[in-house]
């Protein structure tokens, strides 16, 4: 490692960041592919079917054959579309989902390195900023298609995502009031040990107080709306809009929308695990302190990924158990129920902290 120590700090920083970004991006994309397979398998089990089982044992090569198929299908660009936006939109859907992961601490330490790509002081604001850019992809896809149903899907997406972003942003404020920091690594650090009122439960944010449990409930619902998953998948409601914003897309461009949805799900799950379920900590065998050995560091990454997988299964489970909301119900829930509750939650948390101080 002598050559590495000779480099100036900027080059060292760039190299180390690249060494983190590349594996994280690869794992994320792999996870996207296999979440699709998991979704198909779980939904098949729920509907008493077998699901994909042709490619390899239990269908484990299915994502690869799907990808090959998507690449080799004809990439058709209809005559009436707005070409520039038509090409840009799928990429704009995918990019924010990948960028969100940058501030999430996915492990404690490997050697001297903190396992987070960018340890920002304003980590959560960064996440919300990037997530709020995700809507452009869908809106532009609807606009680019230049026909009625995709356009309605795009309009629905923009209204829905703005509405639920507000509830989502408000729902996490109690967490940061309690922790006293916007840095996600420190949010994870504050969740070590067991909870004060019942020392069996881990000291995860979601168990710490009723206000924070309510926070999590609002965040979870808003996350479903932000990722356009059932019961809030109105932008692509098949029965009303014949597929919504992505009707005119085919081949790999369509696949990018599809992958974007799953990457967003993974980002939302990672965010929920970090904020509410202790991130990489586990209050057993001293696993809630930063790792000192290589094995401990890898174990922390494993714990984080396992928690994310549990959240993903919940996403999939809800999708196949719930009917879709009507549009006015969606807006009522967002603006008239969740936003006031989230605001009241902030006031109650602040008052409680003030009384306790």
């Amino acid at each position: 490692m002598a050559w590495f120590n000779q480099l100036d700090p900027t080059s060292q920083f760039v190299l180390l960041s690249a060494a983190k970004v590349v594996p994280v991006a690869m794992i994320l994309l792999g996870l996207v592919a296999y979440t699709v397979l998991a979704e198909r398998k779980i939904c098949a089990a729920m509907q008493d079917r077998i699901g994909p089982n042709r490619a390899g044992p239990f269908g484990i090569w299915q994502p690869i054959s799907d990808a090959v198929k998507a690449f080799f299908k004809e990439d058709f660009t209809p005559d009436h579309v707005r070409k520039v936006y038509f090409w840009l939109a799928p990429a704009i859907v995918m990019i924010p989902a990948l960028l969100t992961i940058a501030v999430i601490p996915f492990g404690s330490q490997l050697g001297q390195q903190k396992m987070v790509i960018a340890d920002l002081n304003v980590g959560v604001l960064y996440t919300f900023g990037i997530v709020s850019l995700g809507v452009y992809g869908i809106v532009l896809a609807g606009y680019a298609a230049n026909s009625k149903y995709p356009f309605m899907g795009g309009i629905r997406a923009s209204a829905q995502m703005i509405s639920y972003e507000i509830a989502m942003g408000m729902s996490v404020i109690p967490v940061f009031l309690m922790v006293g920091d916007l840095n996600l690594s420190r949010v994870v650090g504050s969740q070590a040990g067991t909870v004060a009122w019942l020392p069996v439960l881990p000291n995860w944010t979601v168990f710490q107080s009723p206000m924070l449990t309510l926070s999590f409930a609002i965040f979870l619902v808003a996350a479903f709306a932000e990722t356009n998953r059932l019961p809030f998948d109105l932008p692509e409601a098949e029965q009303e809009l014949a597929g919504g914003y992505n009707i005119e897309y085919s081949s790999i461009k369509f696949a990018l929308f599809f992958m974007g949805e799953y990457a967003n799900m993974i980002a939302a799950s990672a965010m929920m695990v970090t904020l509410f379920f202790g991130g990489w900590t586990l209050p057993l065998f001293g696993l809630d302190a930063p790792a000192t050995t290589l094995f401990g560091g890898l174990l922390h990454i494993g714990i984080f990924v396992a928690k994310v997988l549990v959240m993903l299964v919940i996403f999939i489970w809800v999708r196949w158990m719930w009917p879709r909301f009507r549009y006015d119900q969606l807006m009522d829930l967002g603006w008239k129920r969740m936003l006031p509750v989230a605001l009241a939650n902030i006031v109650v948390t602040a008052a409680w902290l003030w009384l306790r101080a």
């Binding site: 304003v122 919300f128 709020s132 850019l133 452009y136 703005i162």
Partner: protein, 166 residues
């Protein structure tokens, strides 16, 4: 390194800002709005170079993520085909020119007030805690007045969009 990024973001801000108002290729309002988003994102990049991470994040969250999405929403709902064909009006051009001159004068006065190189060097990382303290102590009155202003605007919009009771 920082200088390279500064010129990159500054050039992007100016170029995208120019393309918002005078795009030679397209007069499509959606294109203008998208270039405004790019302008805002490049501005956020400049804030990052000043170590004002909080401002950068809020800039993207509020302007690029919320305000501009609403802009886009409205542009798409209104049919603005006529706007694409409309030519410049002489009076509008004169008004725009006047506005540029006034802003240039204001900027010159501002630059004279605080000469280059005398400001405190940027902190390692702009902390939200310090910003919050300032907002709620030294700048409490302007902060509250702004929030009342927003409330007035909100009430006004609700009043305007309310259907008349029959």
């Amino acid at each position: 390194m920082e200088a390279v990024f500064f010129y990159l973001f500054a050039a992007a801000t100016l170029l995208c800002g120019f393309l918002v108002i005078a795009n030679p290729v397209s007069r499509n309002p959606v294109t203008s709005a998208m270039f405004l988003v790019l302008t805002i994102v490049s501005l956020a990049g400049l804030f990052v170079l000043l170590h004002a991470f909080f401002l950068a994040a809020v800039q993207i969250l509020v302007y690029a993520g919320a305000v501009m999405v609403l802009f886009l929403f409205v542009i798409m709902l209104l049919d603005l085909q006529a706007e694409e064909r409309r030519s410049f009006k002489k009076l509008a051009l004169a008004g725009g020119g006047l506005a540029v001159v006034v802003i240039a004068l204001l900027a010159r006065a501002a630059v004279r007030e605080s000469p280059l190189g005398t400001a405190a060097p940027p902190m390692v990382e702009g902390s939200p805690r310090a910003l919050g303290k300032l907002l709620f102590t030294e700048y409490l009155l302007p902060f509250e007045i702004l929030s009342v202003l927003l409330l007035v605007a909100m009430v006004g919009v609700i009043l305007l969009s309310r259907k008349e009771a029959k």
